[in-house]
């Protein structure tokens, strides 16, 4: 059984439709640790030692956040800047994250249709996530396809239930290593594997 760490960043959870439900439904799954950055560090003063320790203790890292300006809310960038230090996460002596799996779990206001060449956003979500992918590469981690929830502002409660159960299912499958490596590489979003 693998251990999963969710690094969660949402600055206004009280306004969130989907992330509150997602985190509530997975935080008590065995083997899953939820690290709510805005809740733990309201002053952005990250405890670097503690964060690094958490990374070492887990096998699968999830960056869960809404998609803001094609990227993450500010605190997650702070987390990258401070926690993924040279000598810890990368560099000659920095091999602590080697071999871990990592993925992004994001929600976007826009539909899948506008995230493409010629669409309003011109690029796909996966293209926007290239910095995350390369960060993972630099740290010698395996970057899995993201789990993406489109149209986050207009979801019906039925849609939400649907996404929540998929997310749960995904985490359990990852934890128990029930997903075929070949399948993983063949999909754009991990959502597709949970039908």
């Amino acid at each position: 059984m693998k251990k999963i760490l969710i690094i969660f960043a949402h600055p206004a959870l009280q306004k969130s439709k989907i992330h509150k439900r997602l985190t509530d439904s997975v935080k008590n799954i065995r083997g899953v640790t939820l690290n709510n950055l805005y809740e733990n560090y309201p002053d952005f003063y990250l405890n670097i030692i503690k964060e690094q320790q958490l990374l070492i203790e887990h096998d699968i890292i999830i960056w869960q956040h809404p998609f803001y300006w094609y990227s993450a809310p500010a605190i997650l960038k702070e987390w990258f800047d401070l926690v993924l230090q040279n000598g810890f996460a990368y560099g000659e002596k920095g091999k602590n994250l080697e071999g871990k799996q990592v993925l992004s779990v994001i929600s976007t206001g826009g539909s899948k249709e506008i995230y493409c060449k010629g669409g309003r956003n011109n690029f796909t979500v996966n293209e926007f996530l290239i910095p995350y992918k390369q960060s993972a590469n630099l740290c010698l981690m395996e970057y899995l396809p993201p789990f993406v929830i489109y149209n986050a502002q207009t979801l019906t409660s039925y849609d939400i239930d649907h996404h929540v159960s998929k997310y749960k299912q995904l985490l359990i499958s990852l934890r128990d290593e029930k997903i075929d490596k070949k399948n993983i590489r063949s999909v754009e979003h991990l959502n597709e594997l949970m039908e």
Binding site: D43, Y45, N47, D81, Q85, N86, E92, L138
Partner: protein, 635 residues
């Protein structure tokens, strides 16, 4: 040595005060009683260190009362005074008239003629501004309903001294001593007395108007000029000059100096130099008042008392009883709530220092003979000396009985509240919390024994309760049953712990947030497992420290990070020290020295950590490494 006699006297008075006041204060009896006792001890009755000149000292020390009213005026905005007009003239006027009438009636039963009886009634109807206001200030009760009402009555009495002074010669004339009016002291008391009434009135109005004008528009410029010299003693001299000047003018036009300086104080209440004036005048005021109380104590004629103790004590009892009953009845009529009416009545049940003036004036006017005057002086002094004892009786014996009987607090102000948040203690600390919560649309209930700006706060949706939070009924009445949160922001640190105990025991569902004085106080709260504790000055000190770092060349964010690091570290330190403290509370006291060593260790470590943190977190070299490793990979 020059003026040796004077220094000897000063030495005795000061010694008496320095010994007696701390002792009575320690016993919880208040300073007034201490001064009075000191006076009795150094007076002719016991040690005989001061004798006949105590009377002269008293006249001099009465200036303390003048200063006190000036200071009180400074704290009273004109608008507030205007709001109090009903109590000043209604409550105050009725108190003086009814008490004077009853006391005059009693005097007539003792076979005094009607004119003399009236004079005695009027003289004894007044209450002691000095004792009452000193007591109220000391106990912080000036703002509560009893304090306000008492103050109004005293203000009216001050005003009424003027007509009483004018009336005494008339009464003297009626009692058949017409010929004496001409050469009486009258002309010294008021040089305007010879003018006809309406001219006098015009002069008074003109003087008051000009004081108001000068205070409003000119005073601040003069203050600024003086303050700009940067010499504090000149400011002090000017403040004293101001009060003395007004006192002289007021006596000249026949008003009481105390009343005049009070008005001047009110006029200056909006002035930006108000606090400066207050702190400058305060020491003089307190010393002179102390001197005044000592001289009252010394002037008590125990020889006369011993001659016929029962009769005199009887008179004192009659005096106090009559005044007490009238005050209690008026308190009820004017809707003073239960508990406050007793306090109000006990506060004002003595006679006034003005009585000393009025009695000697009556003697000079031949209205009263020497024997009666001496007797009255003794009664007045005794009634003043008893007041502190009566107040102690009220506080320790009567209030607990009354509250138990009613099983309902007499302090609460409004109906039971169901606000989710209760703030106990609304001083500078509580105010910030209250404002923050209000700004975020939370309804807040405030409990304080002495809230300021009541009207304003209430207008903005605060619910206010006067009262002592340590008393279960007060908390109950403030709506603890519906509250989610109690914030102990009071500066009475020991009491705050008691409240926390009470709440934990009886209302375990309520969360407690507490203001701590220092780490030991914080530990006491930890022990009671309250939800959150905040050391009262820590954060603002750290913020100012951040400013210091910026001034020394830190960038703003660097300084911010440094302070954050410091605060988080402090939390850790506190947790560690608490574990130590819990193990052995007593041992910890001995370890304070080690604590200071620890502190320096922490500070050193902190410095290293800071360098590590700031240098490492956004390290330029690390970016280079990143490039390098990328290059490596490309190879």
């Amino acid at each position: 040595m020059y003026n040796e006699e004077f220094f000897f006297q000063a030495f005795i008075y000061l010694t008496a005060a320095v010994i007696a006041v701390p002792v009575t204060k320690k016993l919880g009896l208040g300073s007034v009683l201490g001064y009075l006792l000191a006076g009795i001890i150094i007076g002719p009755a016991v040690l005989g260190l001061v004798g006949y000149e105590a009377g002269k000292v008293m006249h001099f020390a009465e200036f303390g009362v003048v200063l006190m009213l000036f200071v009180i005026g400074l704290e009273l905005q004109p608008s507030l005074l205007w709001k109090m007009r009903r109590t000043i003239f209604g409550l105050g006027g009725l108190q003086v008239l009814i008490t004077a009438a009853i006391l005059a009636g009693i005097a007539m039963l003792f076979n005094f003629r009607i004119s003399k009886s009236l004079a005695i009634g009027l003289i004894l109807a007044l209450s002691s501004t000095a004792i009452v206001l000193q007591t109220l200030t000391e106990k912080g009760m000036l703002q509560n309903p009893a304090g306000r009402s008492a103050f109004s009555v005293l203000l009216f009495q001050d005003i009424s001294v003027v007509p009483i002074l004018a009336l005494i010669p008339v009464l003297a004339a009626l009692s058949g001593n017409l010929d004496l009016i001409e050469n009486s002291e009258l002309n010294n008391i008021s040089s305007l007395e010879s003018l006809s009434g309406w001219i006098q009135l015009i002069i008074i109005i003109v003087v008051i108007a000009s004081i108001t004008f000068v205070g409003r528009f000119i005073a601040r410029h003069i203050f600024r000029l003086v303050a700009e010299t940067g010499m504090h003693e000149i400011f002090t001299a000017m403040a004293l000059l101001l009060v003395i000047g007004i006192a002289i003018i007021m006596s000249k036009i026949g008003l009481s100096p105390a009343l005049g300086t009070f008005l001047a104080g009110v006029v200056l209440a909006d002035n930006e130099y108000r606090h400066e004036l207050e702190t400058t005048i305060n020491p003089f005021k307190s010393l002179l008042l102390g001197l005044f109380f000592i001289s009252v104590g010394a002037s008590i004629n125990f020889a006369l008392l011993i001659e016929d103790p029962y009769r005199i004590i009887g008179y004192v009892v009659i005096l106090i009883t009559v005044k007490f009953i009238v005050l209690l009845a008026l308190g009820r009529v004017f809707r003073l709530r239960k508990g406050f009416d007793f306090l109000f009545a006990f506060l004002l049940a003595q006679s006034s220092e003005f009585a000393f003036v009025l009695i000697s004036f009556s003697k000079q006017s031949q209205l009263l003979d020497n024997e009666t005057a001496a007797l009255l002086l003794l009664i007045v002094a005794l009634s003043m000396a008893i007041t502190p004892l009566l107040l102690i009786f009220n506080e320790k014996a009567l209030v607990p009985v009354l509250t138990r009987k009613q099983n309902k607090t007499e302090y609460d102000y409004v109906e039971t509240s169901d606000n989710p948040i209760i703030i106990a203690g609304f001083g500078r600390f509580g105010l910030v919390i209250g404002r923050l919560l209000l700004a975020n649309d939370y309804k807040v209930t405030i409990i304080d024994s002495n809230p300021t700006n009541v009207e304003v706060l209430r207008k903005f949706g605060f619910k206010l309760y006067y009262g002592d939070v340590t008393r279960p009924q007060v908390i109950e009445q403030a709506g603890i049953r519906h509250a989610k949160l109690v914030i102990l922001s009071m500066a009475e640190y020991d009491e705050a712990l008691k409240v926390a105990d009470h709440l934990k025991k009886n209302y375990p569902q309520v969360k407690i947030l507490a203001r701590a004085k220092d780490i030991y106080h914080a530990f006491e709260f930890f022990k009671r497992s309250v939800t959150s504790v905040q050391q009262e000055v820590f954060d603002s000190a750290a913020e100012l420290g951040q400013q210091a770092l910026i001034e020394m060349g830190f960038s703003k964010y660097e300084a911010y990070r440094a302070v954050r690091t410091f605060k988080h570290h402090e939390k850790q330190v506190l947790t560690d020290l608490y574990a130590l403290w819990k193990e052995d509370e007593n041992r910890f006291i001995e370890e304070t020295r080690r604590f200071s060593e620890q502190l320096s260790e922490i500070l050193v470590a902190e410095k290293d950590y800071l360098i590590h943190e700031t240098d490492y977190a956004w390290n330029v070299n690390s970016d280079g490494e990143e490039e390098k490793s990328e290059n490596n990979k490309r190879e």
